[in-house]
C-alpha cells in the first residue's frame, strides 16, 4: 500500500477516511481461528428411534412449506400420521426448550404433517428394477412396512407376507381405535403399499409358504412381532376369569363387542398395554382398576396415557402385586395381593420387595394380565440364533443366517412402534448394502449434539406449550372415537414457532448482521466466511441463537 501525504488541507477529505477501499487490509491474518457454519444434531433427532430430522421439518412447517416438511419426515418415517398419534415421543424428553418453559409438543406437529401429507400428497408407484434381488418381508407391522418402504425406494421388488387377513400387525391389533383410528391406519398403510409393494395376506410363512421357498429371495426381513403374552407364574392363572390383556385388545380390534357392563375388571401391569386394556374395558362398561408394581410416576406407560385413564375414572393401585387367583364362581375370582415396598440400592436401581404381612384380597369378574409379550420362535428357521424370547440380530438387523434380517418386536427388547420403524429402516440400509455389495454407511458418526448451554437463550421468548385438544371425559367413557383431536392450524403455528431449531441454521441472518468486519456473506442462500478478513472474534458464534456455527482452529495452529 502506497502511503500518500497530503500537501494542504484543501486536498484533504473532511474526515479521516481511507482513500482506497479497505479490502487490501487482510485482517484475517490476525486470527488463529475461523468460524465454520456447521449444523449439529438436535437432542430430539438424537433421541428419535426412527432418526427423523425433526428441526429441519419443523422449520419448514414454520415457513408453511408443508410439502417439503412432509418429504423430510418421510425420508426416515413412513407413517408420521400414526407415530404422531401413538409414539411415546422420546424426542420431547431431551428437548432443550425445557430450560425456558416446556418441551416442544413434537408429537402434535408430526401428526399434523402426517395428516396433511395423507390428504394432500398423491402417491406415485415406484419403479422397481427386476434385476435387483427380490426382497421378502415377513410380517406387515411397523418394522416390516418400514423395511419395505425404504427398500422399494431403492428399486427392489418387494413381497410382504402377512398371516392375518389385514395388514398392520400390532398397529391394527394392539392399539385401540380411540388412540389410532382404523381409517388413519388404512390410509397410511395404503400410502406405503401403493408405492408398488406386493402384500400377500392370509399367508403364513412356515405354513402356507415354506421358509425354504423364501431362500429364493435375495434377502428376507423377518418381523413377525411378539404376540405371546407372558405368564405371571402364579396359582390360579389358568382360571377362565384371568386373560391376557392383549387378547381383549386384539379381539376388540377385530370387531368383537364385549359387554362388561357392571363387571369389575382388574388389570395387572404398568405398561401401555395395561392402560390400553383398562381403557378398552372401561369403554365396554366395566369398572376398572389397574394394579401396578411400581408407583404411578414409575410406570412404564406414558404419563399422558395414565392421566387420561385417571380422568376417565380408572383407579390405579400402586405398589401391589398378585400372589394367586382363586375360583369363587363362574363369573368371579378372588385375587390375592401383596403390597410392595420401593427400595433404591446404592447404584440407584429401584426394586420392589414384598412388604411382609401385607396380604389382602380383591374380587374381580375379569383379570387382564399385561406383563409384556414374547415372540413365537418355534416356527422360525432353525438356523436363526435366538434366545428365550427373541431372535438375535445386530443393530442392522443382521441375523446369524445368510440373507436373513430381523427387526421389530421379534428382535428388539424395546417394543415400541418407533423402535420397530427404526429397525426396519436400518435393516433396509443393510440389506441394500448386502445386495449391492456396497459398504454400509451409517452417517451417524461424530455428529455433535446441541446442548442447552450451546444456545443463546436471549433470542427466545417464553411461550406456553400448546396442549392437545381432548374429547370431553364424559363422552369418552363409552365411545371408541379418537380421544385426541390434535392441534388446530393456529395451535400448530404457535407451537412450531417455539422450536429453537437447535443446531440447525435457519438463515436468521444474525451472523451476517453482527459481523463487525462484514466477513460473513451469503452465497446462494448459504452463509460463508471470508477467511482473509475474519478476525476470529467469535461474535457470530456467540450471537447464533442455535449453535449452528463453531470456531475452528485454522490449519497449522496448535490447540
Amino acid at each position: 500500500m502506497k502511503r500518500r501525504i497530503y500537501q494542504n488541507e484543501i486536498e484533504m477529505p473532511e474526515v479521516a477516511i481511507s482513500e482506497s477501499g479497505s479490502e487490501w487490509n487482510k485482517t484475517g491474518g490476525w486470527s488463529t481461528v475461523v468460524p465454520v457454519h456447521q449444523n449439529k444434531r438436535a437432542p430430539c433427532q438424537r433421541d428419535c428411534p426412527v432418526g427423523v430430522d425433526i428441526p429441519v421439518y419443523l422449520d419448514l412447517i414454520k415457513q408453511k412449506k408443508y410439502l417439503k416438511a412432509y418429504k423430510i419426515v418421510k425420508e426416515t418415517n413412513c407413517m408420521p400420521a400414526i407415530t404422531g398419534r401413538v409414539c411415546y415421543h422420546p424426542c420431547e424428553d431431551g428437548c432443550n426448550r425445557k430450560v425456558l418453559d416446556q418441551p416442544l409438543a413434537i408429537h402434535a406437529l408430526e401428526r399434523f404433517i402426517g395428516d396433511w401429507g395423507l390428504d394432500n400428497v398423491p402417491v406415485k408407484k415406484h419403479k422397481v428394477d427386476l434385476s435387483k434381488g427380490k426382497i421378502a418381508v415377513v410380517g406387515s407391522g411397523p418394522a416390516g412396512i418400514s423395511c419395505a418402504y425404504h427398500l422399494i425406494q431403492k428399486g427392489y421388488p418387494i413381497t410382504i407376507y402377512e398371516k392375518e387377513s389385514k395388514p398392520g400387525g400390532m398397529l391394527r391389533f394392539g392399539i385401540p381405535e380411540y388412540r389410532l383410528p382404523e381409517k388413519v391406519l388404512d390410509k397410511e398403510l395404503k400410502s406405503v403399499f401403493d408405492l408398488g409393494i406386493e402384500v400377500k395376506l392370509n399367508c403364513q410363512v412356515g405354513k402356507d409358504v415354506s421358509w425354504e421357498e423364501l431362500k429364493k429371495f435375495g434377502a428376507v426381513f423377518i418381523a413377525t412381532g411378539a404376540y405371546r403374552s407372558r405368564k405371571m407364574n402364579v396359582t390360579g392363572e389358568n382360571l377362565e376369569q384371568v386373560k391376557p390383556a392383549l387378547e381383549l385388545l386384539i379381539e376388540t380390534n377385530l370387531g368383537k363387542k364385549f359387554d362388561l357392563t357392571g363387571q369389575k375388571v382388574l388389570v395387572m401391569g404398568r405398561g401401555n398395554t395395561a392402560i390400553d386394556a383398562a381403557r378398552t374395558a372401561l369403554r365396554c362398561g366395566a369398572e376398572v382398576s389397574i394394579l401396578s408394581r411400581s408407583g404411578q410416576q414409575e410406570m412404564i406407560a406414558t404419563q399422558e396415557e395414565i392421566q387420561m385413564a385417571l380422568e376417565e375414572g380408572i383407579q390405579i393401585l400402586e405398589l401391589v402385586d398378585i400372589g394367586s387367583f382363586e375360583w369363587i364362581d363362574s363369573n368371579t375370582a378372588r385375587v390375592n395381593c401383596v403390597r410392595l415396598k420401593r427400595e433404591v440400592n446404592k447404584t440407584g436401581k429401584v426394586r420392589y420387595p414384598v412388604m411382609e404381612g401385607s396380604d389382602f384380597s380383591l374380587t374381580a369378574n375379569l383379570v387382564l394380565v399385561a406383563k409384556g409379550q414374547d415372540s413365537e420362535l418355534e416356527s422360525l428357521p432353525a438356523e436363526l440364533e435366538k434366545d428365550q424370547s427373541q431372535v438375535q440380530a445386530d443393530r442392522w438387523g443382521k441375523t446369524s443366517a445368510e440373507r436373513f434380517y430381523a427387526g421389530g418386536d421379534l428382535a428388539l427388547s424395546a417394543k415400541t412402534v418407533a423402535f420397530a420403524l427404526g429397525s426396519g429402516r436400518r435393516a433396509a440400509l443393510a440389506m441394500d448394502a448386502y445386495l449391492s455389495k456396497m459398504g454400509l454407511k451409517s452417517g451417524e458418526e461424530n455428529i455433535l449434539v446441541t446442548r442447552e448451554a450451546d444456545l443463546n437463550l436471549a433470542y427466545f421468548m417464553k411461550a406456553p406449550r400448546e396442549e392437545d385438544v381432548l374429547t370431553e371425559v364424559h363422552s369418552r367413557k363409552s365411545s371408541f372415537k379418537e380421544v385426541n383431536a390434535g392441534l388446530d392450524q393456529e395451535g400448530i403455528l404457535r407451537e412450531v414457532a417455539r422450536c429453537f431449531s437447535c443446531g440447525t441454521c435457519n438463515s436468521c441472518d444474525n451472523c451476517y448482521t453482527f459481523c463487525p468486519d462484514l466477513a460473513v456473506f451469503k452465497d446462494n442462500h448459504q452463509y460463508r466466511v471470508y477467511t482473509e478478513y475474519c478476525k476470529g472474534c467469535g461474535i457470530c458464534v456467540q450471537e447464533c441463537p442455535r449453535d449452528a456455527i463453531e470456531l475452528a482452529l485454522k490449519l497449522g495452529e496448535e490447540s
Partner: protein, 384 residues
C-alpha cells in the same frame, strides 16, 4: 397545532417531525419522558425509526455514531451523569463529523446525588466539538431541535440542545407543534458527507498520523465559525415557514443601558420580568440572552452589549478554581476586542436553587454601585 405540553414532550415532537431513522435511548431523570414519548411514537407507527434500547449512555452514543455513519438521521436525549458517561464518544462523534442531534436536559453533576438543574453537565462538554444551544421556553426548545438538524447537516457537526431540568423539562405550557408538511419544507432529508457502504468499504477514523490530524481539527474549527452565520440563515428560513425566530444572541433594551445582564436558558425569562421592573424604577438595565454557546457568537455579543455598559453575568455553573464559565468566555472576547467594559460575575442557581427576581435586582444594584469587585465572585442566592 397548539398543545399544552412539557418541554420534554416538545422536543420529542420535534424529533418525531425531523423523522430520524435511528433513535437510541437510555433513561435518566429528568430526560426520561423524552425517551418514553419517542418509544411511544415508534410503537404507534407515528415515527418509522429503529428505536434501540441500550445498556448505557455510552452505548447510546456509540449506536448513534454507527447509525449516523451509515447515513441515518439520529436522535437521543440525556442528562448530567449520562452525558458525562458519553464523554469520549462526544469527541468521537464530532471528530467523525457526524450531525447527531441530542437533547440534554440540564441537571447538576453529582456528587452529591441531585436531579435538579444547573448547566455544568453540558458546559463541561465545551471542548468536545459539539455545537450547543440553550432554550428559554418549550416552544424555543421544539424549534431549536428542528433548526439543529438543519444546521448540523450543513456543517457536519453534532449539536446539543439544552433544556433546563424541571424548569422546562417538566413544566407544561402551550406549544405550537408544526404540521409535518411545514417541517418537511424546512428540513430536507439528510445528505451524508460520507457513508458506510458495504459495496465500497473504507476505513473511517483509523489511525491518523501527525501529518494529517492537525488539519482535520482546523477544518472542524472553520465549520464551527461558519455555523455562526449559518444559524442566522437557518433561523430566517425557519421563521419564513413557521413565523418564529430564535437568534443566537438576543438583545433586550440594551441601546441605552448602563448595565446589561447576560445569561442563558430559563433564567432569561426571570430577567426579562426583572428588567421591566427595574426600568420602572428608572434604572437603565438591559438584557442579553445567550442562546448559542458553541460556536461562541463573539461578534453578536460584542454588538449587543456595546462599548460602554457594565455587564453582569449570571452563570448557572461553576468551574471550580476559576468561576463562572460564561463570564470567562465573555471576558475573553472583550479583551480580544480591546473593550474595557466592567464585567461582574455572579454564580446562581447551582443544584436547582431557584433564581429569584429579588436576587437579580440585588446583583444589578450591587454591580452598579461597585459594591463588589469585577474580578470577585458574587455568590448570589448562596447562604454564604
Amino acid at each position: 397545532m397548539k398543545k399544552v405540553i412539557t418541554g420534554n414532550h416538545a422536543v420529542a415532537h420535534a424529533a418525531r417531525l425531523a423523522k430520524p431513522g435511528v433513535v437510541a435511548v437510555y433513561p435518566i431523570t429528568p430526560q426520561t419522558s423524552v425517551s418514553e414519548l419517542m418509544a411511544e411514537f415508534v410503537a404507534k407507527g407515528q415515527l418509522k425509526a429503529r428505536l434501540i434500547r441500550v445498556e448505557s449512555e455510552h452505548s447510546v452514543m456509540a449506536a448513534l455514531i454507527g447509525a449516523s455513519m451509515a447515513g441515518a438521521r439520529t436522535f437521543t436525549a440525556t442528562s448530567s451523569q449520562g452525558l458525562a458517561l458519553m464523554h469520549e464518544l462526544l469527541h468521537w462523534a464530532a471528530g467523525a463529523r457526524l450531525p447527531i442531534v441530542m437533547v440534554n436536559v440540564n441537571r447538576s453533576m453529582g456528587s452529591p446525588w441531585t436531579i435538579w438543574c444547573d448547566h455544568l453537565d453540558s458546559l463541561s462538554q465545551r471542548d468536545t466539538g459539539w455545537m450547543q444551544f440553550y432554550c428559554e421556553s418549550s416552544q424555543e426548545a421544539l424549534d431549536t431541535v428542528l433548526q439543529a438538524y438543519k444546521l448540523s447537516e450543513q456543517v457536519n457537526l453534532p449539536c446539543m440542545v439544552n433544556l433546563d431540568g424541571f424548569y422546562l423539562s417538566h413544566t407544561v405550557e402551550p406549544v405550537d407543534i408544526p404540521e409535518q408538511a411545514l417541517v418537511d419544507a424546512f428540513l430536507p432529508p439528510r445528505k451524508p458527507l460520507y457513508k458506510l457502504d458495504i459495496d465500497d468499504p473504507h476505513s473511517f477514523g483509523a489511525l491518523t498520523s501527525p501529518e494529517h490530524y492537525y488539519e482535520l481539527r482546523y477544518k472542524a474549527q472553520k465549520e464551527m465559525e461558519s455555523a455562526k452565520e449559518l444559524i442566522k440563515q437557518t433561523n430566517s428560513e425557519f421563521s419564513q415557514i413557521m413565523g418564529r425566530s430564535w437568534l443566537p444572541v438576543e438583545a433586550i433594551q440594551t441601546k441605552d443601558a448602563e448595565i446589561i445582564i447576560v445569561t442563558m436558558a430559563t433564567t432569561v425569562g426571570t430577567c426579562r420580568w426583572t428588567v421591566k421592573k427595574l426600568r420602572q424604577q428608572g434604572l437603565k438595565v438591559g438584557l442579553v440572552k445567550l442562546k448559542m454557546f458553541r460556536p461562541f457568537p463573539a461578534e453578536d455579543l460584542l454588538e449587543a452589549i456595546g462599548e460602554g455598559p457594565r455587564v453582569v453575568v449570571l452563570d448557572r455553573n461553576l468551574s471550580a478554581g476559576m468561576g463562572g464559565i460564561i463570564q470567562q468566555e465573555l471576558k475573553n472576547i472583550f479583551y480580544s476586542a480591546g473593550r474595557r467594559n466592567q464585567i461582574f460575575s455572579a454564580i446562581v442557581g447551582l443544584g436547582g436553587r431557584d433564581i429569584t427576581p429579588e436576587q437579580i435586582e440585588l446583583v444589578v444594584k450591587q454591580s452598579l454601585k461597585d459594591m463588589y469587585a469585577a474580578d470577585q465572585i458574587n455568590w448570589l442566592g448562596g447562604k454564604i
